[in-house]
Symmetry: C2
Subunit: 199 residues, 2 copies
């Protein structure tokens, strides 16, 4: 296989791409080598060299420990447990959470063969051993795997004197009731709350 075939095959196997989009991407890059392809390779090489996994929380960043772990204003008493780095970034985009994070590195899943050994539990224990954490927020997917993992982590944390909370379930903002599944609507009804009237 020559360099061109290898390139197309490799691109086609990237997540979100297929044979057609892989070919298209290859031709786009090769069509404007100086403008697009050269800079891309340079940018990727730099990211490959500089970006590291944070040894404390599991985030990826150009510095180690990451910007969040080394930020002096981050609240040390709150720990948000997420499955993946993408979830950590989703939480950060809310600009609401000011505590620290722990990336588990996945969720327990019998189907995918993910067991407790595959989760970053030692990292969690290390955080807890520090003694500063007062609340652990389990920000895990509202799926079977996410909830199983949440219960497992809660069990793990039962030996520490710490408040454990999870994200609220309910109607998504902007969501229409007609399109919601019964489970979400049941939870939203069950956890209904007094209407807050803005004065």
């Amino acid at each position: 296989m020559d360099a061109l075939e290898t390139m197309i095959k490799t691109l086609s196997r990237l997540p979100g791409l297929g044979p057609r989009s892989g070919r298209r991407l290859a031709l786009y890059l090769l069509g404007e080598k100086e403008k697009n392809f050269g800079p891309l390779v340079q940018i990727l090489q730099e990211a490959l060299d500089k970006v590291e996994t944070c040894p404390e929380c599991g985030n990826v960043d150009v510095q180690s420990p990451c910007k969040i772990c080394s930020h002096p204003q981050r609240v040390q008493s709150e720990l948000c447990v997420v499955a993946d780095v993408s979830d950590l970034w989703a939480m950060e985009r809310t600009h609401m959470y000011k505590g620290r994070y722990l990336v588990l590195g996945g969720l327990l899943s019998a189907l995918d063969g993910k067991t407790p050994e595959d989760l970053n539990l030692s990292g969690l224990r290390q955080y807890m051993a520090g003694g500063q954490v007062k609340e652990v927020i389990l920000a895990l997917n509202a799926t079977v795997e996410g909830q199983t993992t949440a219960h497992f982590i809660a069990e793990e944390l039962s030996r520490y004197d710490v408040k454990i909370s999870t994200l609220a379930h309910g109607v998504p903002v902007g969501g229409e009731l007609d399109y919601l599944d019964e489970g979400t609507l049941q939870t939203a009804l069950h956890r209904r709350r007094p209407l807050e009237l803005v004065a």
Copy 2:
């Protein structure tokens, strides 16, 4: 902007990708640096170094002139004119055409501001000046731009003693009449042909 942000932004702008899939791809690569990211950068660097645009036909290949142009068994009397390299590859996947190619580098388009100066007409003239070409096959999209370009190229070729043909229009193989547009069906009816009974 640091190396990580630059990487995500650059990936998000690639054709077929967006902010979400760009982030996803970045995390996929950074998650397994040795297994996925390192090899990808190496493969792209190699393609960047080795793949060139063929000076004769406009194809991209690891050799110059490309494998098709330098192939001794390719019929020199047939020239297939295509808009882009992707169309050349599509033709090659049929394994039916054994002649040579010319990549125009686009189609005439008033909307996109593509004029005859943007097409590789000098390459076409060079082929024709060789005197070996007996048939030119215009394998261009069955769109307004494609057909405009086909007529323009036919005009250009009128000074040479050469047969000009285009791809057949009609019902796509596997196509259902009910889903076809009227134009295709009209053309297919107009160009109907005697049924060939296999003995």
